[in-house]
């Protein structure tokens, strides 16, 4: 309905869309959020069934091309070294994330100044610090204060149990004199705000039936809806239209019945992640914006960053109970996070201790690697490996490069006929050197911890969790897409609050920083409501 005008239209109900909706609800404006997916029902998550491991390869698979729900859109990864993973629904990718929740470091905002590469952010850690704290409280973050690798912070809940696996690897780090610390985790270690605590189901990345994992469908959204935000599911935006003054006018979208509709809005906030946001912007071509909306810089869809990931596994004699507990959240080491040019690369990486697989995953991985045979010898080899493996994930900083892109696929479309995104991405030499260094150091740590054998795999292809950099923030309109508080340089009533805005990606999981950015943008909008478009 052309005469139905909402004050703020948010596109996407994931990590950032939920946060910005909750914060903007203070204004009592009419706020509507469009989400292309559905609400998920935790009783459907794989961990409610004995076959949870095989179910995780079905409707809750992390790869949308494999999952293939009609609420997903296809992604062309043919020319990418990394496959994009995500989830489309209320909560977005927080439904399937591991909830490892570190913040970017202060140095991550000053990469050009400190290391002479990439660009600095137009804001710094201190700008986001109060929003990190608010977000930790809203999401429910467990962790331990005092990590010397960060400015002081106080997670609202005590850390998750690190278990035998965490103790074992920690001893290895201690032998080497390296930094380690219990991970900040968006998983509640104690009952919190009406939610019961984590009971260590294990398969966090196929949805948390317990509700111990802090996905935004159970954190921000209930609050935002209570405060008046309207969330409409099964609304898939095709494009943003503009008026004669170059302002965003509204969106063309498809409803659940597949009908084309139009929604007028005074302000549009994009929260569709680093692939979905450039996809819509590039698909929003007009006479005024022939190269796509908000793209006078030519940088929409460019500078795509992931985090190149490798895994190093140590096999221990002692039982580590490694299939128990949150998969991705245990302890971490930032020993090699900051630049040391003597290593042969700039920037650094995070070592994230991951828990082990369930029995099916162990058996199949053992078959593929040749370590657990079928037939005679299966049981003995299985016993030696199951619950005896500790993994260190190497999560490398990926510097922005303009040839790594999200573009529109010329032929592939989603179920509504909207062009699919096409990913073009290759690893840099710097990333490869960093990963090689990380694999060697992780091997050293696991051997120091007492591992009998260590194996390494990487870079992993199905690892595109972190979608960053494709609509970067900056003060210079020729070198950035949005300004220092998320407003498009070109379209004064268009804002971006997702990971697209990242100038650099740091070496940590980005969800915490994405949400802090979203809260910061919302707060800045509230402070500037009287002259929001000046």
């Amino acid at each position: 309905m052309a005469d139905d005008v909402v004050d703020v239209l948010i596109i996407g109900a994931g990590a950032s869309g939920a946060a910005v909706a909750w914060s903007l609800a203070d204004t009592r404006m009419r706020i509507v959020c469009f989400e292309q997916g559905d609400w998920t029902n935790p009783s459907d998550y794989p961990s409610t069934a004995a076959n949870w491991e095989s179910q995780a390869y079905g409707p809750y698979h992390i790869d949308p091309n494999v999952r293939g729900r009609d609420t997903d859109y296809p992604i062309n990864n043919d020319e990418s070294a990394v496959t994009v993973v995500n989830f489309n629904g209320v909560g977005g990718s927080t439904i399937l994330y591991g909830a490892h929740f570190p913040r970017l470091h202060p140095s991550d905002f000053r990469v050009r100044t400190l290391d002479g590469v990439a660009d600095d952010w137009p804001i710094d850690y201190d700008t986001l610090e109060p929003y990190f704290a608010t977000n930790d409280r809203m999401m429910g973050v467990s962790g331990l204060a005092g990590d010397p690798m960060y400015p002081a912070k106080q997670p609202p809940l005590p850390p998750l149990p690190m278990g035998l696996i965490g103790e074992a690897v920690a001893r290895g780090f201690n032998k080497l004199g390296w930094h380690w610390w219990p991970s900040d985790s968006a998983i509640i270690s104690q009952p919190y705000q009406g939610r019961d605590k984590c009971v260590n189901l294990g398969p966090c990345i196929s949805g948390c039936a317990q509700g111990g994992k802090s996905s935004t469908d159970i954190t921000y959204w209930p609050e935002a809806i209570r405060r008046g935000v309207e969330l409409r599911t099964r609304c898939r935006v095709r494009e943003i239209t503009v008026n004669e003054h170059g302002f965003a006018h509204g969106v063309v979208y498809y409803n659940a019945a597949g009908e084309e509709c139009f929604q007028r809005a005074e302000v549009i906030v994009m929260a569709c992640n680093g692939v979905g946001t450039p996809r819509i912007l590039l698909n929003s071509k007009s006479a005024q914006f022939p190269d796509g909306l908000a793209n006078s810089s030519g940088l929409v869809g460019r500078n795509l960053m992931f985090h190149p990931i490798a895994f190093v596994q140590g096999l221990f004699d002692e039982r580590l109970d490694s299939h128990k507990g949150p998969q991705a959240c245990c302890i971490l080491s930032k020993q090699f996070y900051e630049t040391d040019t003597s290593r042969g690369f700039v920037r650094g990486y995070n070592m994230q201790i991951a828990r082990g697989s369930g029995p099916l995953g162990t058996a199949m991985a053992g078959y593929v690697s040749g370590t657990i045979p079928w037939g005679p010898g299966h049981h003995e080899a299985f016993r030696q490996r199951f619950d005896h493996v500790a993994s260190i994930g190497i999560l490398c900083e990926d510097l922005p490069e303009e040839h790594n892109t999200v573009t529109l696929d010329p032929t592939r479309v989603d179920s509504n006929g909207i062009p699919a995104p096409k990913i073009t991405y290759r690893y840099s030499d710097n990333s490869m050197k960093m990963m090689e260094h990380g694999q060697a150091r992780a091997t050293e740590a696991l051997l120091a911890a007492g591992a009998q054998t260590v194996t390494s795999s990487g870079p992993l292809r199905v690892s595109g969790w972190h979608l960053l950099g494709t609509a970067r923030t900056g003060k210079n309109p020729e070198r950035s897409v949005v300004n220092h508080w998320g407003r498009s340089h070109d379209v004064k009533n268009l804002f971006i609050v997702d990971g697209s805005v990242f100038v650099t990606g740091g070496g940590v999981n980005p969800a915490s920083t994405i949400q802090a950015w979203a809260l910061y943008v919302a707060d800045t909008m509230k402070k500037n409501l009287a002259n929001l478009f000046d």
Partner: protein, 150 residues
């Protein structure tokens, strides 16, 4: 393999016998008797309840084995299965995935390997809290680990 009445069974009697031998080859019972063979964990029930779409592929896999397979000693059966795994690795991996999926859902198996029976939710798992005094060296050396100030 006898918990489904014969008229409902997706396999012929001959195929069932062949399948039992194949399952017993892929995952034999352990020598100490603690771990059952994969032929003892109701694969047919699993097939109908959780993997019905796999039945046509399973029939294709079974066609790769002669009826005499069932009478061979284990070492010879292993050799035949190995040949099959080389000639059609995709089908073999699909079969193995299903066999392991069924096997490691079995309560008797789970008890033996120390995994809770049934679904992880709602019972969950107990995880050792971990000894945070292990952090003492990190804290003592915090001047070496301090974050980099811009």
């Amino acid at each position: 393999m006898a918990d489904i009445i014969s008229t409902d069974h997706p396999l012929t009697r001959a195929q069932q016998i062949l399948l039992a031998a194949l399952l017993d080859t892929l995952v034999p019972g352990s020598d100490d008797g603690a771990m059952p063979s994969a032929a003892e964990v109701q694969f047919d029930v699993y097939l109908l309840a959780q993997a019905e779409e796999f039945v046509p592929l399973l029939k294709s896999a079974l066609q790769c084995f002669e009826p005499s397979f069932v009478d061979l000693p284990l070492t010879d059966r292993c050799e035949r299965v190995r040949e099959f795994s080389v000639s059609d690795p995709q089908l073999f991996q699909a079969l193995l995935t299903r066999v392991y999926d069924c096997y490691y859902q079995n309560d008797r198996v789970r008890v033996q390997i120390g995994v809770v029976t049934g679904a992880p939710f709602p019972q969950g798992n107990q995880v050792t809290p971990g000894d945070l005094s292990l952090l003492d060296p990190v804290i003592r050396n915090s001047d070496r680990h301090v974050y980099r100030k811009p």
